[in-house]
Amino acid sequence: MVEARAPIVHTKALTKAYGEHTALDALDLRIEAGATGLLGANGAGKSTLLKTLLGLIQVTSGEGSVLGHDIRTEGPSIRQRIGYMPEYEALDPRMDGIHQVRYAGELLGMNPVIAMQRAHQCLEYVGLGEQRYRQINGYSTGMRQATKLACAIVHDPEMIIADEPSNGLDAAARDFMLQTLDTTVRNGQRSVLMASHLMDDVEQVCERIVLLHKGRLVAEGRIEDLKAIDREYEVHVWGAAEAMERGLLDRGLRVRRQGRVMRVADDRDDLPREVLEVAAATGAQVRRLHTYEASLEDLFIAIMERLGHDVKSSEDLLAGGAPR
């Protein structure tokens, strides 16, 4: 893991409003070096935040900095030190990969010869070494995503903003993309801010998350630390599961049950003893009792439940739009 260093992104009461709609609402953000996942539903303010961090739009109020540059006044300096990998198509389909990446470098101010050298290195790095002279028109989705990443890292930026990097990729291409981002962080010691709606992807690459909801920051920090809010015991029972669930609820415990498997929130000192007592009292046979390692998906659902939203999976929210 990359050690925590000074924040690379810092915002204070950052607000961006479009007329009466507030896209970012007094956002206090602190993103440290390393890999950070940016989560949020459509309309949560992710795109606005990215544009703000790139220094492309004027904020309504508040302040912020990226790599020490003021987002209000030093947009070009920020964009020179950041590599941005857009979510949508951003390549000229008639160009070949190598020249597209070289041009991306030239647009940053790289000498054409050096940009070409660097384009070779970057395409090799993202696994397109053998495909670099092919026209982008004939690239698969995975190859296009890899080319976009190569364009983003051509000038060896300190921070890479990857917007949905695994969008539309098959399993193998997705794994390779995530591995590449991970290598960039661990081997290259670069920072990645990865916007995604795929919890598994974020968990695979990132050690921290920033969760936005309706323009507000609802969770921020190390995934491991955040998971502590959703620590549970998983109990597998045989018989009288419903009675046992009622017994646990009567004791004021938070229980989620699906068939013979129930998860009990670990917010008591001696929870296993209490579970066994209830089981004994209700005649349920406990076959297995262990702590449950929450996934980011569980964490997300827990946070959303605390915000008062009834969601069954992150797909409900992240892919479908913000709940009302």
Partner: protein
């Protein structure tokens, strides 16, 4: 798999050695390393691709280099691969127009060989200078409007279509620089075809006909007038074309729209003047407005009853409106989504 190298063995060739493919290969291998036998060794199996992040410690050049990159990308794409991929048909058409544009040079060269009388009508004069820039047929029917439509049509619209605007705006390229460099590239191509060939034409006459200083002093103001008229044409056509390109996501609409604007308004204004004897619509026709101003600048007899100053105002208004539309549309181009 074993990684033990295959034993080296010495290969000898003499007169009796058969000349086969295998012996040629062995001869090629053994030709290296001062006669030392060099044979293939078994390789190790395992991971072929090792992913290592390579840092880069170079320095990025300032704004001018980025702008030059945009300009260069569009200009070099006409003649070399690896830059903006211009369709082959456009390139061929540009070559044909270039040949057509310097068409008035050949009579001058012939005149220098066989006597002035032969190419008299093509020699440098008010009318021929004006015709080189603003002659209606073929230059302002087949050459300049069509070239503008072809080069400008996709200049901005393709960035909307392909999302490549994100490639520009997520880098330290300002929208002004982006549009200015695209404008400059389109205008440069038109400049070469229209104004540069005019200068070549004039220079060829000076050199081929052996014109003296007095002739140059007499005709140079005319040349300047024609250059100014040509520059107005280049700027106006480019502004109109880029404005059209900025409102679309494909190249067809801007191209057809520009041709319809230039040739359609000219046709309508001509018909209205013919039938109703009203010249006012010529003010709305980019070509006629430019022609009226151009005739005044070069000093040829005017075909229009409208004052040339009104046409100049019309040209200025057309440019301002086009640039306003262009600026607005480019300002709305997105980075995160198009």
């Amino acid at each position: 798999m074993s990684e033990t190298p295959v034993e080296d063995h010495e290969v000898r060739f003499d007169e009796a050695s058969p000349v086969t493919g295998a012996s040629r290969i062995e001869a090629a291998y053994t030709a290296e390393d001062h006669g030392q036998a060099s044979v293939a060794k078994s390789g190790s199996t395992g991971q072929v691709f090792t992913q290592t992040y390579l840092p880069w410690t170079g320095t990025l050049n300032p704004r001018w280099a980025r702008n030059w990159a945009v300009y260069r990308h569009h200009m070099l794409g006409l003649v070399r691969s690896g830059h903006r991929p211009w369709p082959i048909l456009i390139r061929v058409y540009l070559v044909l127009v270039l040949i057509g544009s310097v068409g008035d040079i050949f009579p001058v060269l012939l005149g220098s060989l066989f006597g002035e009388g032969l190419g008299q009508v093509f020699m440098v004069s008010r009318d021929s200078l004006y015709a080189h820039v603003l002659g209606f047929f073929p230059r302002n029917v087949l050459y300049y409007p069509v070239v503008t439509a072809l080069i400008v049509g996709t200049m901005i619209s393709e960035d909307r279509l392909n999302g490549t605007s994100a490639l520009y705006f997520s880098r330290p390229i300002t929208r002004f620089d982006y549009v200015a460099m695209k404008y400059l590239a389109a205008a440069s191509i038109l400049f070469i075809l229209c104004v540069f060939t005019l200068l070549v034409y004039y220079t060829v006459e000076v050199l081929a006909m052996g014109r003296g200083w007095s002739w140059i002093v007499d005709t140079f103001p005319l040349l300047l007038g024609a250059v100014a008229a040509g520059m107005l044409l280049v700027v106006t056509y480019t502004s109109l074309g880029l404005a059209m390109s900025s409102v679309s996501t494909n190249g067809f609409f801007p191209a057809i729209g520009l041709l319809a604007l230039i040739l359609g308004s000219k046709s309508v204004a001509f018909l209205v003047a013919l039938i109703f004897e009203q010249d006012a619509l010529y003010l709305l026709s980019p070509y006629d407005a430019l022609a009226n101003v151009g005739q005044a600048l070069v000093g040829t007899e005017s075909n229009y009853e409208l004052p040339w100053t009104w046409s100049l105002v019309s040209v200025v208004v057309m440019n301002v409106l086009s640039l306003y539309l262009l600026a607005n549309r480019v300002a709305s181009m997105e980075v995160t989504r198009e």
